[in-house]
Symmetry: C2
Subunit: 224 residues, 2 copies
């Protein structure tokens, strides 16, 4: 099994236990338990004892696999970001079917965000509680995910599917798409009054495509 080269940074968190396989197993239990509790009550309101209980471990054992509660938060953020990255990668890959590539990419991505709503909210809320060292690690993943969209959009421009816009405009579009996904998660409580996820997707997609169409005709005031 080539799981040694995970895209996650979990291996940077020290452990007392020597059996690597066991570490991975237990940490999965722990992270799964923690994610549920953090989503429900937030990081600070969740006690390490509760986490241990939910993971079917004693507190003692918990601390064999983790050096501090903050480490645990990092494992959680890392796991979520890993899942996100995997989801986005798949979504972008799945959308390579000729015609409506961009629309499909957007749709797949938004569906990932819809599925991971709670996790996205959690990341926005608790990333700041991480020690600086872990926080930069988490932000790196955020950069990587946005990078996937940078690449995808630039590829579409090169292929002529999209008009040849200037780099800053394309990059910003990538940012926008990423954030629109987050927006659905963060403001579902509000948006869902008016829109279903499908309506949201088609409206936002129309907006994006329109903006490109408008740009093709003439290069408007998009100068710095």
């Amino acid at each position: 099994m080539a799981t040694h080269f995970n895209q996650t940074a979990a291996h940077k968190v020290p452990t007392q236990v020597k059996d690597l396989k066991l570490v991975q197993l237990r940490r999965r239990q722990i992270v799964d338990a923690a994610v549920g509790l953090f989503v429900q009550k937030g990081f600070h309101r969740t006690t390490t004892r509760e986490i241990a209980k939910a993971a079917n471990l004693s507190i003692g054992s918990l601390y064999e696999y983790v050096t501090s509660k903050e480490d645990l938060l990092f494992l959680v953020c890392d796991a979520i970001h890993g899942e996100m990255e995997a989801g986005v990668t798949q979504a972008l890959a799945r959308a390579h079917t000729a015609a409506g590539v961009l629309a499909e990419m957007i749709r797949e991505y938004f569906l990932v965000c819809d599925r991971m709503t709670d996790h996205i909210v959690l990341i926005y809320q608790e990333t700041q509680s991480l020690p600086r060292k872990w926080r930069t690690e988490v932000l790196k993943t955020e950069v990587r995910v946005t990078g996937l969209f940078f690449e995808a959009l630039h590829r579409l421009c090169d292929e002529g599917v999209l008009p040849p816009l200037e780099k800053p405009a394309v990059d910003l579009m990538a940012h926008n798409i990423v954030v629109w996904g987050h927006m659905w998660a963060l403001r579902k409580w509000f948006l869902a009054r008016q829109y279903s996820i499908d309506q949201y997707i088609s409206l936002q997609t129309a907006l994006i495509l329109n903006s490109f169409n408008g740009a093709t005709a003439s290069a408007p005031g998009s100068q710095a």
Copy 2:
């Protein structure tokens, strides 16, 4: 922070002190102190003693004006949202100068967000720490702010400045504008590598105007 206590819900928080004028004065001290500390260290890592000290009060006095630390967080969120609402109202009003109304509205709003970056981040991070009762109160304000954009955009449609789009599309555009402001605040650490606030504004504005132009043939060429 010249907070306008009029349209806030601060009066719903009980106090031991009877002199209303004094309550407002002290609470302003307290909120100002707390905002600074919360931005710096977050809600949970800030102690009530620190807040009292920064506000030039004893802990005893602090608790004359506030029933719990959570109440205090509410006062903070409420004050920030109040300031935000005031800022947006002014921004929208200031932009009523004929031609590039929409572009000006957007610009003014984004500048408000840029100025209030720390506060916006704080709101996103700590709103969930509020007791349910206060949280709904805070979310109401969020709805009100978005509502200001609903109205503004619909007015522009009626006046013929914007093409007559369907309500859901217009409302979503309002949401988008609101969130783009937040996005600048939340992802400044990332966006500022590539864009200045002015570049960000003009790029996003171009995108919006283009999307309108693409939507219907009859669009007035309002330039920023």
